[in-house]
């Protein structure tokens, strides 16, 4: 099996699974319990928090555990909107956000906020001049997807922050970090990010666990109320096995992530050069330099359908993804690919390849060979 859908989810590392089994069989206590079993669980949660804080070079108390990326984005955006609504009701985001961000803004628009969607260029980047014009006196938040999940564009956060700093209203900065966490290098403190969301299952950890960094100067109110866990921000008994699993995944990232990213970057460049050499009429939608994630590659094979390509490849044990389904009763096309200017036909012929540390050069060779066969076959059928 060659798994190339690592933006959707990743296979948990063996060390992660082992730790989680231990957590469910031995350290199964409730961290809130007063007895020793509870105390043990509490300690494990504390350790995991430390690992993550160290990895992100922030303080322990700035890391909050949640159920994953969607919840982290929701807490950050909803809480900030609520808290600062007296100061202003204007929010700026990009046109290529994930639904767990875009749909929160749709909801906020319904309750009286105004939201500006920044267009992106053909590579998926927000234009800084436009941003600077759009920041108004009542702008309370700029929220940007750090690495886009469909095309891999890595936004210029440094540039964005500089513009924010120059503005009068100085809005807060939220980053949707689901695809950047553990995959690209950055410093939250140096960038001056206020909130940052991340997820466990995109970094070879378990599903159902994620986290939110909240800069300590910012005090946010919860959107869920209850037992007061996570300093009151996120009530509910801690997902201890999930937290321990995420901690273990990040512990490995601490030593491996730089090397893994470098290897992935090499493979990505190799993959693209090979595809361009062997398959005609390919459009590469992801840049091949440091302005995109080393792991993500969006490719358009003109005159094909992404979903059919996907099924051809899956028959050969290769798993990729598409962002549009082949369907006669109304295809929902990717808003991201539309935003970078792809035509409907191009969107239909687009697949996404997301690498992981496990992928080898041989895997890439086999994948390109199978891609070539599939693309030619599909083109001979559709082209008629």
């Amino acid at each position: 099996m060659i798994y190339l859908d690592n933006c959707a989810t990743t296979k948990p590392r063996k060390e992660v699974v082992d730790k989680m089994v231990e957590a469910m069989t031995i350290d199964f206590g409730n961290p809130s319990s007063l007895h020793r079993l509870g105390f043990h669980a509490e300690k494990k949660v504390k350790e995991a928090r430390e690992i993550i804080a160290d990895y992100l070079k922030v303080e322990n108390k700035e890391i909050y555990f949640t159920s994953g990326g969607t919840e982290s984005n929701n807490i950050a955006i909803q809480s900030i909107a609520r808290k600062y609504s007296k100061k202003g009701k204007h929010i700026i985001t990009s046109a290529i956000e994930h639904p767990s961000v875009l749909d929160v803004y749709k909801h906020l628009e319904d309750v009286g906020f105004s939201v500006t969607l920044l267009d992106v260029d053909e590579n998926g980047y927000v234009d800084l001049d436009t941003l600077s014009k759009e920041i108004k006196e009542d702008t309370i938040l700029v929220s940007i997807i750090h690495v886009n999940n469909e095309i891999g564009a890595l936004q210029n956060i440094k540039g964005i922050k500089e513009i924010i700093n120059k503005s009068v209203s100085k809005p807060l900065l939220h980053l949707d970090g689901i695809q950047s966490f553990g995959k690209v290098e950055f410093s939250l403190k140096a960038l001056g990010v206020d909130t940052y969301s991340f997820s466990g299952h995109k970094v070879y950890g378990p599903k159902g666990i994620g986290g939110l960094y909240i800069c300590k100067d910012l005090k946010l109110d919860p959107i869920l109320y209850g037992g007061g866990q996570e300093s009151g921000l996120r009530s509910g008994t801690e997902n201890v096995p999930g937290i321990i699993g995420l901690g273990e995944a990040v512990k490995i990232l601490s030593t491996n992530s730089r090397n893994e990213a470098q290897e992935a970057f090499k493979l990505k460049k190799y993959l693209v050069s090979k595809i361009i050499k062997e398959i005609e009429n390919v459009k590469v939608n992801t840049s091949l330099d440091a302005t995109s994630s080393p792991y993500i590659l969006s490719l358009t094979f003109k005159g094909t359908r992404g979903e059919i390509l996907l099924h051809y490849l899956e028959e050969k044990g290769i798993y990729v993804s598409t962002s549009s389904a082949c369907s006669s009763n109304g295809t929902t096309k990717s808003h991201v690919l539309k935003s970078i200017g792809l035509s409907n036909d191009e969107i239909e012929g687009t697949i996404r390849i997301c690498l992981s540390y496990e992928i080898t050069k041989e895997d890439i060779d086999y994948t390109v060979e199978q891609l070539r066969i599939a693309v030619n076959d599909i083109r001979s059928i559709i082209g008629r």
Binding site: R305, E307, I308, H311, A325, C326, S327, I381
Partner: protein, 388 residues
């Protein structure tokens, strides 16, 4: 005085010669339908079937029985001995139970005396029971034309008193009218067609065509789900799943593009017939509906039909789409049918399909294909699922 569920059956009561055969089939299917819910006894009494079960299970049992073909009415009733005092008491109780949760102001008593040995005649029973109800319950009057509630008194070996007639689907018990093979797609129509023929007593099995890798495996899963919903009415369904992508590729390559759909349909019919003959099914069933799409014109149906010898049942042929949708909603296949996974990829759909195909032209086009070999290859890769 105790509670039972009574079941009346319509059409099969008319089949005097085979009545016992139909009744026994029906009881067998009722047993199967409610076996896992739990009941104590099913018995026949003078032309009706009765079920003894805990009252806690009534809603579930009634829900299951509604899906058994051949049943016309289902009624929870009070059972007493053939004793007029008991009958009166039971009638009062029956109507009291109904009044509790509704604004019932008027009633009418209807008596059916199946056991003619009972000393009082039906009108007499109705009159006296009515009088007793009026005397014992306040604010209630008789309305013989449009009563809010009927009190039915059914005098058989025992007497049964009830106020509700819950409608079943009627029809004939499954298996009393042979076996058929349904061409089941993921759409709205074909599950309804299967349901309608099953209601006429036909045991249904199904064949599904897909075009993987041009379609998703989820499309097949959706058809399995639809077969699963149908099996609530029909019982076990054998689902044959056939990949026709090679056939479509060959048609695409060798035949006029506007004939794609009609040629594919002829292949589907032929494959279905071959499966049917192999398994001794006596008819094919489709959800075709006159004029709904290009391949379902009268000319199109003629061309499709002439590819097979077995009779093809098209129970929806004269329906409007809205009527089909209503039935699909009622039998609970609609929600699944409208899920967006297609069994046929848009790649192969011609922009302008031929609407008035001529058999000689189509047969001419088929000469470019090795029809028998293509069918054989498709059947070789067929998968069979048992859906319960």
């Amino acid at each position: 005085m105790d509670k039972v569920i009574s079941v009346s059956f319509g059409e099969i009561a008319l089949k005097s010669g085979n009545r016992k055969y139909f009744e026994d089939k029906l009881i067998k299917q009722m047993r199967k339908a409610i076996a896992d819910v739990g009941y104590e006894k099913i018995y026949k009494e003078m032309g009706k079937i009765y079920i003894e079960a805990s009252e806690d299970y009534y809603p579930q049992i009634i829900n299951r029985l509604r899906k058994v073909f051949g049943l016309v009415y289902i009624s929870p009733c009070i059972r007493v001995e053939q004793d007029f005092e008991e009958i009166k008491k039971a009638s009062i109780q029956a109507i009291l139970e109904r009044i509790e949760d509704s604004r019932i102001k008027t009633f009418k008593v209807e008596t059916n005396r199946a056991d003619k040995k009972f000393s009082m005649k039906s009108p007499e029973v109705s009159k006296e029971v009515g009088a007793v109800i009026l005397k014992n319950i306040e604010n209630l009057t008789v309305d013989v034309h449009k009563p809010d509630v009927f009190v039915y008194v059914d005098i058989r070996q025992n007497a049964y008193i009830y106020t509700e007639k819950i409608k079943g689907y009627g029809g004939l018990p499954i298996g009393t009218n042979g076996k058929g093979l349904l061409l089941l797609s993921g759409g709205i129509d074909s599950p309804v067609a299967g349901f309608m023929m099953a209601r006429r007593g036909v045991e249904i099995n199904a064949v599904h065509y897909h075009s993987y890798p041009f379609t998703s495996e989820r499309a097949e899963e959706k058809v399995k789900d639809l077969a699963g919903i149908l099996s609530r009415y029909i019982g076990t369904i054998k689902l044959f799943s056939v990949n026709i992508i090679e056939i479509q590729k060959q048609i695409n390559k060798n035949c006029p593009k506007d004939e794609m759909t009609i040629l594919s349909r002829r292949f589907m019919m032929r494959i279905a017939e071959s499966i049917a003959k192999e398994n001794n099914y006596q008819a094919l069933i489709t959800g075709e509906n006159l004029g709904q799409v290009a391949s379902q014109t009268i000319e199109g149906l003629n061309v499709t039909n002439s590819s097979v010898e077995l009779p093809v049942f098209r129970p929806l042929i004269g329906f409007d789409k809205v009527d089909i949708v209503d039935i699909a909603k009622d039998i609970e296949t609609y929600e699944t049918s409208i899920l967006p996974y297609d069994d046929c990829c848009t790649v192969f759909l011609p922009k302008h399909p031929v609407t008035k195909p001529r058999l000689d032209n189509i047969e001419e086009s088929e000469k470019a294909l090795d029809v028998d070999k293509l069918i054989e290859a498709a059947l070789d890769n067929m998968k069979t699922y048992i859906i319960q």
